[in-house]
Amino acid sequence: MKLIEEHPILDFKHGKRVTFSFDGRQLEGYEGEPIAAALHANGVKVYRETPVRKQPRGFFCAIGKCSSCFMVVDGVPNVRTCITPLKEGMHVETQRGKGVIPAISDKGKR
């Protein structure tokens, strides 16, 4: 992971290290930190593809306002990954297009 090892002022206290999947790949990140930050630390920069022109989109505002970092998380599309905390075993996928909202019966315990 691309983490800052030494900093003259800040002392980073990361939480528990957890495993999650990104488009089928197993990656590691810290529990409770934003999904988008964990992906970026793993060198993943493209989070979705726009519906019409198929252009890549990624991180941008980091405050849950711009819609750039929408991804499919545990089957649910349009999740603001910059302000959604990472959990062990999450399934994170690149969102292509507008996404399909899962039917209630498919949602399991969500």
Binding site: E33, P34, A37, H40, K45, R57
Partner: protein, 368 residues
């Protein structure tokens, strides 16, 4: 949507203004509910590693993230404050005064407050250039979040767009985080930020290209470079196009107040260029044209964190007074003190533009 929570004062936004408003209202015994869309309280303060300027009353000389810790400590002393993080206020319904909220992405609830302080902060601006949609073109605040909150290196080499205080400070912070800064481009013919911040990055060998702008981002899936060019008096690019080999283009080209909820509530709004966008008209104690809604911090006009904290305190006292909490003497005493502090912060050359802007949106008092 079955749950309806009631509260005396709802504070929307847990940055410097919101935390200050919450603490102040709580000190008068008001029951306060604060919602913050981020995962942590503190707003932009938690990303600031530099020591603040301003005045001693607003903790000049203390690093931003420490100021946030002090505010949270103050707030933790009150049992009557409930704060929700990862919680976005999504709408205000004027017919019954209800605010809808979503916690995480799937838990919805409603709050019916007696009074509201909108301390929703600001959002970053973007300028148009080909490929500005590419991943790797990030707002300065986003870059700060990655590196200063989560310890993630945003990239290896950065082009900074904008030499205002944010562009200069974030450039310095990038270097602290071990990231190379290829240069800073600034469309104006002088640095917009404080001289001391510019001197710090220049000493570290970062070139500041005045009268330059970014004309294109290079890359297929994400940024692999940028093209910069000189601009003439009419901001038209001229001369040689220079390629810079960078993987991050950091945009520090200004902020706009976040004001959607104020529009929804029907507050009287006015466009004030000096305050960087549409802002609510307000009286001296930050009350908007809506009798139950106050505004504070960047949402009331782009300024900086020190004045945001004082505006928050003023709004907090004023909501408590409107609810009949506390004594007249105490309200008057605190308001006089906070107005003195605001005037101090806005004194001098830097505050002139702000004062000019404020004169366009401040009313003496609202008609009853």
């Amino acid at each position: 949507m079955r749950t309806l929570r009631e509260t005396d004062v709802m504070v929307i936004g847990g940055g410097p203004a919101g935390l200050s408003a919450a603490a102040e209202a709580a000190s008068f015994g008001c029951d306060v509910t604060l919602v913050e869309s981020d995962l942590a309280l503190g707003g932009q303060l938690i990303k600031q590693t530099h020591k603040f300027f301003g005045s001693k009353d607003e903790r000049a000389g203390t690093r931003g993230f420490k100021i946030s810790e002090l505010l949270l400590e103050e707030l933790s002393g009150y049992g009557n404050v409930k704060a929700y993080t990862n919680c976005t206020a999504t709408g205000y319904y004027p017919e019954d005064g209800v605010v809808t909220c979503v916690r995480a992405e799937d838990e919805y609830f409603k709050i019916k407050p007696k009074k509201i302080v909108m301390a929703t902060g600001a959002q970053e601006r973007l300028i148009p250039f080909p490929n500005n949609h590419l991943p790797g073109v990030y707002g300065a605040g986003a870059v700060q979040t990655l590196m200063n909150v989560y310890g993630v290196k945003p990239g290896d080499k950065v082009l900074m767009v904008g030499a205002g205080n944010i562009g200069l400070i974030v450039s310095y912070q990038l270097i602290q985080a071990g990231v190379q800064v290829a240069g800073i481009v600034e469309a104006m013919d002088k640095v917009g930020g404080y001289w001391v911040h510019a001197a710090k990055v220049r000493r570290l060998g970062v070139p500041i290209y005045l009268r330059h702008t970014i004309v294109e981002a290079i890359g297929e899936q994400y940024v692999t470079g940028a093209v910069i060019q000189e601009i003439d008096e009419r901001f038209q690019p001229q001369g040689e196009r220079k390629s810079v080999d960078v993987d991050i283009i950091c945009m520090a080209v200004g902020l706009s107040p976040t004001c959607e909820l104020l529009w929804q509530a029907g507050c009287e709004m006015v466009f004030v260029p000096e305050l960087c966008g549409y802002v609510a008209q307000r009286d001296r104690n930050m009350r908007t044209s809506h009798k139950d809604i106050w505004v504070a911090g960047d949402a009331a006009g782009i300024e900086e964190a020190s004045s945001a904290m004082v505006e928050g305190r003023i709004a907090g006292v004023s909501t408590a007074r409107a609810l009949g909490r506390g004594t007249h003497e105490e309200h008057e005493k605190r308001l006089a003190e906070y107005h003195r502090r605001l005037d101090d912060l806005r004194g001098g050359e830097v505050g002139e533009k702000i004062c000019q802007g404020l004169s366009c949106c401040t009313v003496d008092c609202w008609e009853v």
